[in-house]
C-alpha cells in the first residue's frame, strides 16, 4: 500500500501485537488496519498517537454498530421473560443470580427457572442464588425434560405475579446438533406458556474465549435469535477483544459485563471503557 512512507513497519508490528494478543482476530485486525491505512492516506497521519486514536475510534464504531433494537416488550401485566444460554462454564447461572439481584433491588418480583436439568447440582446452584437475592426458584427433578420444566416455570410466573422471569439453560456446545434442537424447543415452549416469550435471549460469553466465540455466537443466534450478550470474567487478564468480531459479524449488542463472582459484580457494558482497556 502507498502509505508505507507514513506508517512504518515497526508501528504496524506493534499494532498487530496489541490487536492479536487482545483476541481481536485476523479478520477484524485486518479491517482495523485497513481503516487506519485509509485514514493515514486521507489525512497523511504520521504521528503514532493519531494512529492509535484512529484505531480506538474504529473499534468503538464496530461496537456502536451493534444495534440495540433487539428484544421485545411484554404485554401489559405479563412478565418479561429472559432466556440465558451459552456454552459450558461461561457463567450463565452466576449471571442470572447477578441479574436477579439487580432487578430485585429495582423493585421487581423476580422468578428463576432452573432449565438446566442435566448437570450435577445445577438446580441447587440456582436455588442458592434465588435464596441469596430474594427470588423464587422453580425447578424440576434432575434428568427431567428441560422443555416441560421451563414451560411450567414460565407459566407459573403469571400466577405468582412475577414481573421478570430468568430462565437458566444447560451449557452446551454449538456443535451438538441434538442439544441445539433442544434449545430451540425450550425457546418455543416459552412462547406457548406466555405469548411473545422470550422477550430477551442473552448469550453468555467468557472473556477468555478466543476466535471460537464468533462461531458460538453465529450458531446460537441462528438457533434462537440472540438479543444481547453478557461478557463474563472481565476481572481476569483476558481482554475479550473477540467481541469486536462478534459485533462486526452479527451486530448483537453487548448488554452487560461480569467482573467477579459476587452478586453485585455485574455492570452495564460501556463501549468507551471497553475500548480503553482493550488498547491499554
Amino acid at each position: 500500500f502507498a502509505s508505507k512512507k507514513t506508517i512504518d513497519d515497526s508501528l504496524i508490528d506493534e499494532i498487530e501485537e496489541v490487536l492479536f494478543t487482545a483476541d481481536i482476530g485476523v479478520k477484524t485486525a485486518d479491517r482495523l488496519l485497513n481503516s487506519v491505512r485509509e485514514a493515514v492516506d486521507a489525512k497523511s497521519l504520521s504521528d503514532p498517537k493519531e494512529v492509535w486514536k484512529t484505531l480506538r475510534s474504529e473499534a468503538r464504531a464496530i461496537l456502536d454498530g451493534a444495534t440495540d433494537t433487539r428484544g421485545t416488550l411484554p404485554k401489559e401485566g405479563e412478565p418479561k421473560v429472559i432466556m440465558v444460554l451459552g456454552v459450558n462454564g461461561t457463567g450463565k447461572t452466576t449471571s442470572i443470580g447477578k441479574l436477579a439481584h439487580r432487578f430485585v433491588n429495582e423493585g421487581h418480583t423476580v422468578q428463576l427457572v432452573a432449565g438446566d436439568t442435566f448437570r450435577a447440582a445445577a438446580a441447587e446452584q440456582l436455588e442458592h442464588w434465588g435464596r441469596r437475592v430474594g427470588a423464587k426458584t422453580v425447578r424440576g427433578k434432575e434428568g427431567a425434560d428441560p422443555a416441560s420444566v421451563v414451560f411450567d416455570g414460565v407459566e407459573s410466573a403469571v400466577v405468582e405475579k412475577a414481573d421478570i422471569v430468568l430462565v437458566d439453560t444447560a451449557g452446551r456446545l454449538h456443535t451438538q446438533k441434538n442439544l441445539m434442537e433442544e434449545l430451540k424447543k425450550v425457546r418455543r415452549v416459552m412462547g406457548r406458556a406466555i405469548d411473545g416469550a422470550p422477550h430477551e435471549v442473552l448469550m453468555v460469553l467468557d472473556a477468555t474465549t478466543g476466535q471460537n466465540a464468533i462461531q458460538q455466537a453465529t450458531m446460537f443466534n441462528e438457533a434462537t435469535d440472540v438479543t444481547g450478550i453478557i461478557l463474563t470474567k472481565l476481572d481476569g487478564t483476558a481482554k475479550g477483544g473477540v467481541v469486536l468480531g462478534v459485533c462486526d459479524a452479527l451486530h448483537i449488542p453487548i448488554r452487560y459485563i461480569g467482573i467477579g463472582e459476587r452478586v453485585a459484580d455485574l455492570k452495564d457494558f460501556d463501549g468507551a471503557e471497553f475500548v480503553e482497556a482493550l488498547f491499554a
Binding site: E17, K27, V87, T90, A120, A121, L173, T175, T208, G210
Partner: protein
Amino acid sequence: TLYRGFKSAKTKLTGKTTLDETQIKEALRDVRLSLLEADVEFSVVKTFLKNVQEKAVGELVTTTIKHKGEKKKVSPADHFINICHDELAALMGPVDTSINFKKGSGITTIMMVGLQGAGKTTTTGKIANKLKAEGHKPLLVAADIYRPAAIDQLQVLGRQLNIPVFTIPNVAPPDLCEAALREARFDKHDVVIFDTAGRLTVDEALMGELSDIKDRARPDNIFLVLDAMTGQDAVTTAKSFDQRLDLTGCILTKLDGDARGGAALSVKAVTGKPIKFLGVGEQLDKLEEFRPEGLAGRILG
C-alpha cells in the same frame, strides 16, 4: 472464511518442483494467519514460523528429501506440509500421559487447578472413573468451598461413580486437604484427588491458597485444567499457575467442540509441561490420552 491459511498455503505450493525462499515466506504468511485464527499465542506463532522457515529453507532446495529417515521423492508442497506438521507435533511433545504414582504403598495425590468454569470438577470425576476402572481406590476431596453447590456437584458425581467424597463444613481448603489425607490412610484409599475452586491468576489471596494446599498436601500431580476455546490468555494463565505451583501437566477440556485448540500449543510452549489428557464430552467416560498428531492437524486447519 477469508483465511483458510493452511489449505491456502497447500494450494499455492501444489505442482511446484522446487521452492525458493520467497515462496516459502509467502506460504508461511498463510500458516501464520491460520495459527492466529486457531488461537495460538502471538509470540508462540513467531517462534514456530522461525523454526519452520529455517528447516524449510534448509531442506526444500532438492526434490529428493529425507523424511523421517527414509529417502523419498516427495513434492516440495507435501514436504513443506510435513515440516509444519512435524514441527507442530514436536512443539507439543514429547508425549507423557502418565500420572505420577507413589512408589510402594504411599497415597498418590492429584491436585486440579485452573480458571473458573474450565472443567475441573467434571475432570476430577473423569480421572476418578478411569483410576477406579484400573483397580485403584480413589477418594475425592471437595476443596472448593466457595462456589454455590460446588460440594453438591462433586457429591453427585461421587454417587454416580460410587466413589466417596470427603468434605468438612467450614474448614479452609489447606486444612481440609490435609485432613483428607488422614481419612485416606484410615480408609485405605490409594489415590486422593483435590478439586479446587476456579480462580483468577490475578487473585493473590486465592493463588496463595493454592500454594498453601501444595505445601500441606504435597501433591504428586498438579494438573492445570484449561478450556480448549481459550484464546491468547492461555499463555498468561499457564505461566502464572506454573510459576506459582510447578505444574506436572495440563488437561485440555471441551475438545468435543470446534475450537481449534491453539491454546494447547501455547501452554506447552510456555511451561514445557506435558499435555496429559483431553476432555471430549460432559460424561464421566469422556477422557482421552493426549496424542499430538490429532491436535496438530486441528490447530493447523
